[in-house]
Symmetry: C2
Subunit: 199 residues, 2 copies
Amino acid sequence: MSGAVIKYDLCMGRWQPNARGRLEQAALELYGERGFEQTTVAEIAKRAGLTERTFFRHFADKREVLFAGGVMLEDLLVRAIADAPDSTTPIEATIAALEGAGALLQERRERSRQRQAVIDANAELRERELIKLATLASALAGALRRRGVTDLAASLTAEAGIAIFKVAFERWIKETNEKELPQIIRESLDELKAVTAGK
Amino acid sequence: MSGAVIKYDLCMGRWQPNARGRLEQAALELYGERGFEQTTVAEIAKRAGLTERTFFRHFADKREVLFAGGVMLEDLLVRAIADAPDSTTPIEATIAALEGAGALLQERRERSRQRQAVIDANAELRERELIKLATLASALAGALRRRGVTDLAASLTAEAGIAIFKVAFERWIKETNEKELPQIIRESLDELKAVTAGK
DNA sequence: TATGCTGATGACAGCAACTGACATCAGTCC
DNA sequence: GGACTGATGTCAGTTGCTGTCATCAGCATA
């Protein structure tokens, strides 16, 4: 489990490659082993064979190391919405994009569980997760506006989409059966439709 | 305003009353004057005539001083949902509760604007605001479940309600005309209904 | 080959957020 | 009057985070 401190290897350049990835790995391990607050940045850096100062060159703060990967997801969603056929309704384009992202996550179910367990165990990490989701909602709304959707409708559709994703993701993580994330997302949309229709 | 440090007054007990309120006031002023990050806790405490250590006895961290009042709002909303007639649908009970809260905020429009300007100017404060809203959503979902609403429907209704509130509040803060918050909330619900219906 | 630039890292000092431990002392209860 | 309580002060310490300067492999270019 890579508790070992990595040292220079004279054969390959001045430094070990992928410093950023090593920091991410070390942080996820340590946060999982002893908790977020009980882990110091110095310890993460040491396990990655680097110094504390270098950690903060790669990540803005101690939390960000768990969320830096989210940029890819945002790109994916925005592109999916942009590429949807013109005839697609805003809510349908949004949900289709989320189903696509859900399919990706479906392939890394165990890692998602591990990461989410770390996040759920700490209030500061939950805060960071929420702002990432809010940023995502903003990006989705922007993508919708670029399709000609009005401001209000774009914001509400994006927020509703994120709400659906949150609820669906939580159920997916919690459930023991093997229902797949994209399917849960679709079911959640149907439920939201029923609920807003006044039921 | 009130840059003066408050001193003991031999006529009235050992300490000035309402230490907590003085800290809240001093913090809002300083955050507004020079920004959240540029304000130290020691400065807030000094303006309130107290010490840094005492600040942390009243508030868990430097941000919480802006959000401690939110507990009242949560109580109000939960009670409103609990007290709604049995025949009221979940979404209607939720929106009615939010309209009630909106009416309260309507009376302090300027203070709301001031507070929101401080929050919007800082990412850490936005994080804290989001987790407060998420907590509120949880509380709403709980209140709905106690009315016999199923888990999934309760979560989605609560999340949708909060999404509506976020969007409506933002428009209310931003707009120069005098449209009232409860009305904007109602309009936003109608828009969400249109959007989820597939439009 | 020499020279200089760049980019990732280390080393170190320092600030400010937050915590734990103990002291102080007005008011209150018995 | 003596014990107790509760809000506050004081002080030392940990840790997240930043600024600054030094180091040095690799690369380009003369």
